[in-house]
């Protein structure tokens, strides 16, 4: 019975808040549900889903989002791990505290603000990035107006914003490594990489899985930063899947189609998450 006492409140809360809207979204995904034409909402079965799955634009957006993920996520993980290891070393406590505090800044900045900051900093004329590139002899680059560069710019901001998250999660994971084991290992070998691989890695696995699942889900939901910086442009070059859903749902007002897209996206996320867990997490199951 203690189980209910401990788990009950959380479960009940999430059920109450989460289920109804999700149910609504599912319901509308099986109907033609145009906000601007609510007089006719016929049941159309899986039509919306078929439309989504056969829409080239949808798969292109998914492709873009996956490319984005594959570009940004490994960078965040590697850099985050390095930073966590650095912070895990003893000594230099003032500098480390300063570092830990400054890590919060990128995560704390509102995503929409990051996009706006991106507009200011990456502007071809009055942007400071081009100014600094000019100092080392590189000519002015058209960031936001060029399809490829815009993509790089948003990837850059994603890395800037979320590497600290990875670092902090890894740091928390490193803190669970019993100190005796670490000390013993350090007496055995000089190579930090060996220590990481054999001693610390198992303790990092839960954190790694968390990061993988969360970042994948978040990238599939990534909206604010990209929207404020490029609106999905130029053309469609930075239109990630969430921007497309927003376009369909909020601007085209086709709630049925948008819901179908979201459901498909949810399924994809769940599948990926299960893969992550099976691959990474189960190794650390105690």
């Amino acid at each position: 019975m203690t189980i209910f006492a401990f788990l009950g409140p959380a479960v009940v809360t999430l059920l109450a808040i989460g289920i109804v809207p999700l149910g609504f979204a599912l319901y509308t995904s099986f109907h033609r549900y145009q906000l601007t034409n609510l007089k006719k909402t016929p049941f159309i079965g899986f039509d919306n889903y078929v439309t989504v799955l056969t829409d080239q634009a949808f798969w292109q957006a998914m492709g873009r989002t996956m490319t984005f993920l594959l570009m940004a996520l490994p960078l965040q993980i590697v850099l985050g791990l390095l930073i966590a290891l650095l912070l895990h070393q003893p000594g230099l406590s003032l500098l480390k505290t300063l570092c830990r505090l400054s890590l919060v800044i990128p995560m704390a900045t509102t995503y929409a603000v990051v996009g706006l900051l991106g507009q200011v900093m990456f502007n071809i004329k009055y942007g400071v990035i081009n100014q600094m590139l000019g100092w080392i002899g590189i000519g002015a680059i058209n960031w936001i107006g060029d399809p490829t560069n815009a993509f790089i710019a948003i990837a850059f901001w994603d890395v800037w914003q979320w590497t600290p998250f990875c670092a902090l999660v890894f740091l928390a994971g490193l803190s669970t490594v019993p100190a005796e084991i670490e000390e013993a290992a350090k007496l055995d070998t000089n190579s930090w990489w060996e220590i990481v691989r054999h001693i610390q890695l198992p303790f990092l696995m839960p954190g790694l899985t968390a990061i993988l699942i969360l970042r994948t889900a978040d990238t599939l939901k990534l909206f604010d930063m990209v929207f404020t910086m490029t609106r999905g442009g130029p053309g469609s070059s930075t239109e990630l899947i969430s921007l497309m859903i927003q376009r369909v749902g909020f601007r085209g007002f086709d709630q049925g189609l948008a819901s179908a897209q979201a459901v498909i996206l949810l399924i994809i996320t769940i599948i990926l998450s299960q893969l992550y867990i099976r691959h990474f997490y189960s190794e650390a199951q105690r």
Partner: protein, 447 residues
């Protein structure tokens, strides 16, 4: 004696009734009309633009006279349609609808707004000075009318105008602005594009700006249009293609990355002296003439947009205010009184002076106005020539504009040719219209 007193009584009775009668005819006043609604609260969505700031400054006077409270909810343009649609769908609080000219078909067909007839035929609410014919017909029809019925009164009104830097033009040897688009491209373009400066900038960002400012602007002056008489796509016609190809050609005289330029960047280009000419909305007049935001205040000149082979077809845009049908009776009446008051002939001058752009013909004919506001001549001229269907205003526009935005920018980026882009837009547009029932007679061909 008795007869005298009878006559006296009769005379005074007649006199009394006479004065009462004439008083009744004269006595429509805002205060009187608003008495039953004192204390009513009216909700409306406003944008963060000069016209709305002007209205906000006028508000205290209205609230004092009537006791009606106007609650304003500010939203950026991008969100304003979504906010209102959601509110109407959910039977929410909004009592007045702010209607972009392209939303009128949508709102009207969903019966979310009330025709003004309901109020103009009500002697208690109708201001005898309304003088609806004083509005520019083009503007009234385009912003507030749909399928023959008038729903809203024009409130925040724009025309596309040519803003240019006279000093830069003079330096290059021109003594006036280009009269035609060809002139702008072939003569002015090369002469003004050098040393990091550009002759022209066309705002083309992938949102409504692309559809309204960039795409549509290059169709109409060349004789093109979105739809033909049968509501099929007209984008592959020779005229439309000429226009679109013209735009591609013109891009060489525009700053790099023009596809990511929204209004702000374009206006800033002129304001910072980097671009010689822009065709932008009249509302930017204040931004370009204020020393806080512009470095070219002394060199700024305004002219109507250049003409194309099919004539001068300046960009048309604006918002009307209409009463929302979801409001209850009191709120509807109070809302109407506000709409009527803020767009009235009497208030037009104050609105203009506070930074708004009214759509009353009378105010622009007043002496001294044209000198005080240098955009007036160009504006009045533009509103004589414009096309109401500059952008089709039917209910499906929200979906169609998304299509135009996507492929319009792709054309500009060179990812598809003008023919391919037009083909894509055309077929998708027709799919939307087909589903909505325009081709099988379910819906009348109104735009």
């Amino acid at each position: 004696m008795r007869i005298m007193s009878y006559l006296g009584a009769a005379a005074s009775a007649i006199a009394l009734t006479a004065t009462m009668a004439t008083n009744e005819v004269k006595a429509w006043s805002l205060e009187e009309a608003a008495k039953p609604y004192a204390g009513t609260e009216v909700e409306v969505v406003f944008l963060l633009r000069p016209g709305y700031e002007a209205a906000k400054q006028m508000l205290p006077e209205f609230e004092e006279k009537t006791g009606i409270k106007i609650n304003i909810i500010d939203h950026p343009y991008e969100n304003s349609l979504g906010e209102q649609v959601r509110d109407f769908v959910a039977q929410g609080d909004l009592d007045i609808a702010l209607i972009d000219l392209v939303w009128i078909g949508n709102f009207a067909e969903n019966e979310w707004i009330v025709p003004i007839e309901t109020f103009t035929s009500n002697p208690d609410l109708a201001d005898p000075e309304l003088d609806i014919d004083d509005f520019f017909p083009l503007v009234l029809n385009a912003f507030g009318g749909w399928n023959g019925t008038v729903y809203g009164l024009p409130f925040d009104n724009y025309s596309g105008l040519l803003f240019y830097n006279r000093c830069m033009l003079e330096e290059a040897g021109f003594d006036g602005p280009p009269a035609t688009w060809e002139e702008l491209k072939d003569t002015y373009g090369p002469a003004l594009t050098k040393d990091g400066k550009h002759a022209y900038a066309l705002q083309s960002k992938r949102n409504e700006t692309q559809s309204a400012d960039s795409f549509a602007r290059m169709l109409w002056p060349f004789g093109g249009s979105f739809l033909d008489a049968n509501f099929k796509s007209n984008l592959l016609s020779e005229e439309s293609q000429t226009g679109l190809k013209f735009r591609q050609d013109l891009m060489q005289y525009m700053p790099e990355g023009i596809v990511s330029y929204d209004h702000a960047e374009t206006v800033n280009g002129l304001a910072q002296g980097d671009v010689a000419m822009i065709t932008e909305w009249s509302a930017f007049y204040s931004t370009l003439t204020s020393p806080e935001t512009s470095t070219v205040t002394d060199c700024l000149e305004i002219a109507p947009e250049p003409a194309g082979p099919a004539g001068r077809k300046p960009a048309l845009g604006g918002f009307s205010l209409a009463v929302a049908s979801q409001a209850d009776e009191d709120e509807q009446a109070a809302g109407w009184l506000f709409i009527q008051w803020v767009t009235s002939k009497a208030n037009a001058k104050k609105y203009l002076e506070l930074g708004g752009v009214p759509a009353r013909q009378s105010v622009y004919q007043e002496p001294g106005i044209a000198e005080q506001f240098s955009f007036v001549d160009a504006l009045v001229e533009s509103w004589q020539d414009g096309v109401p269907e500059f952008r089709p205003r039917f209910a499906e526009w929200p979906q169609i504009t998304e299509i135009v935005q996507e492929w319009g920018t792709k054309i500009m980026l060179g990812e598809v040719t003008t023919e391919e882009g037009a083909e894509e837009i055309g077929s998708r547009m027709e799919a939307v219209l087909d589903e909505a029932g325009y081709y099988n007679g379910d819906k009348p061909l109104a735009q």
